[in-house]
Amino acid sequence: MSIQSNVEVHTEWGIVSARQAGRNLAKDAGFGNVDQARIATAISELARNIYLYAEKGEIVIQYVEDTESPVSKRGIKIIAKDKGPGISNIRDVMEDGFTTSGGLGAGLPGVKRLMDEFDIHSTAGEGTEITAIKWLR
């Protein structure tokens, strides 16, 4: 089983490849149908953001293990990075209803809710890096 997939995103094909890579890894990790679809959707949303706002970037999908916590956990980590315009108002984009494109429930808050952990780092003019993890239950 592969441990990591890196997918370049600069066309819609890239979005599809990233979804596919994420779904495969999630399936191998032992996620059920619903969680596979959630991980694919999260990747889809993150990759679309790259495609729409940064033009190109990369999605990295990793198999992760947390051995430090009392009960060791396994899961899937998604890293979405781009060198696009960055986000100057992170608080705003993490607010429900802020999305400039797409409808209800989409956007970064939607991704955050699909996953278990979510972290965003962005500097205006330099780019954005978003990390999200889903743990196996």
Partner: protein, 337 residues
């Protein structure tokens, strides 16, 4: 959570199985009840769909592959609903939080209004003030000085809701910090105007009418700052006339003068002060006319002042299908015989 989750999944399997055997309305009724249960346990649409797929795979092990795969397709389509569902939940939580905050603010605001109406032998006073939503942009205040003169203020912040309420709290503190000795209406408005002009954003305006009733000589002195005119009822003539006071809205120009007017009040005469929420009461046919309002007050004029304002409010509220569009304040001061 996981326990009740698998429990609900099993329940779905059971009622589905029952329905597939009996195919009757009872089964469908149970499905409908079940949908309430999944909402109660915050189970999202895609999860419910997976209950179905799991159950179907168990009941029909030979299900065609393509039929089975079609569920993955449907699952993907349902993801959007799932995300919208979770966004809805989080917005609902946020709304509850906001509502709780507003309730606290609204009850704080209530303490800004006078707790009781001053009791004077020669005056019968009625007051009603009802916000359109939880917080009010209307303000009223009574002051009784050592000479037993009764000061009455009614103010309306242009706009409503929370911004107006914030502005209103400032007016309250400005009124409280006025000099102890009695101020003439014109001088009082000049004072307030300075405070408002210095402290409030230039896009917020406050209209106000202030009157002072001297029970020794039964004179009513008043000045206005762009406020909705009230009415003066003369019992002898049985007429209502407009109680208008010319003056610029508070907060526009630093050095504004306010003209002072006065009325000799005869027994049975009364003064009506109101906010524009009263006259801008909108019905299906448009705004009510001031004449209609006069007729309404006339209809109840024999009642005690408090009952008049309550009856007038009730009738106007009913005219608008019990939905106030603006904050509503109505004050009546009547000289007793």
């Amino acid at each position: 959570m996981t326990d009740s989750f698998s429990c609900i999944q099993n329940q779905y399997k059971e009622i589905l199985k029952q329905y597939l055997e009996d195919k009757n309305e009872i089964g469908l009724y149970q499905a409908q009840q079940f949908s309430k249960k999944v909402l109660e346990h915050q189970i999202s649409p895609e999860e419910t769909l997976s209950f179905h797929l799991d159950a179907i795979e168990e009941f029909f092990p030979d299900i065609p592959h393509s039929l089975r795969d079609s569920f993955d397709f449907l699952l993907e389509v349902m993801m959007g609903y799932g995300m919208a569902y979770r966004a809805h939940q989080s917005l609902r939580d946020k709304q509850k939080e906001l509502e709780a905050e507003i309730n606290v603010a609204a009850s704080m605001q209530q303490t800004f209004l006078p707790e009781e109406i001053p009791q004077v032998d020669s005056l019968d006073i009625g007051v009603i003030s009802v916000p359109a939503s939880k917080m009010s942009g209307d303000y009223y205040h009574f002051i009784r000085d050592e000479n037993d003169c009764i000061g009455v203020a009614i103010a309306d912040i242009i706009g409503k809701g929370i911004p107006a309420a914030l502005c209103m709290s400032m007016i309250k503190y400005a009124m409280d910090s006025l000099p102890e000795q009695r101020l003439q209406p014109g001088a009082l408005l000049e004072n307030l105007n300075r405070v408002v002009e210095q402290n409030v954003a230039s896009n917020m305006f406050i209209t106000m009418m202030y009157g002072s009733y001297d029970p020794h000589v039964h004179h009513f002195y008043y000045s206005g700052a762009g406020h909705e005119p009230g009415f003066y009822y003369s019992q002898k003539e049985d007429t209502f006339e407009e109680l208008y006071a010319k003056g610029l809205v508070l907060g526009i120009k630093r050095h504004t003068k306010f003209r002072e007017y006065h009325k000799q009040v005869e027994p049975g005469d009364f003064v009506v002060l109101l906010s524009d929420g009263v006259t801008e009461c909108r019905t299906e046919e448009g705004f009510i006319e001031r004449e209609e309002l006069i007729e309404l007050i006339r209809k109840y004029k024999e009642l005690p002042a408090q009952e008049i304002v309550e009856k007038v409010f009730y009738e106007l509220e009913r005219l608008q299908d019990f939905q106030l569009r603006d904050d509503f304040s109505l004050i009546i001061l009547r000289r007793k015989v």
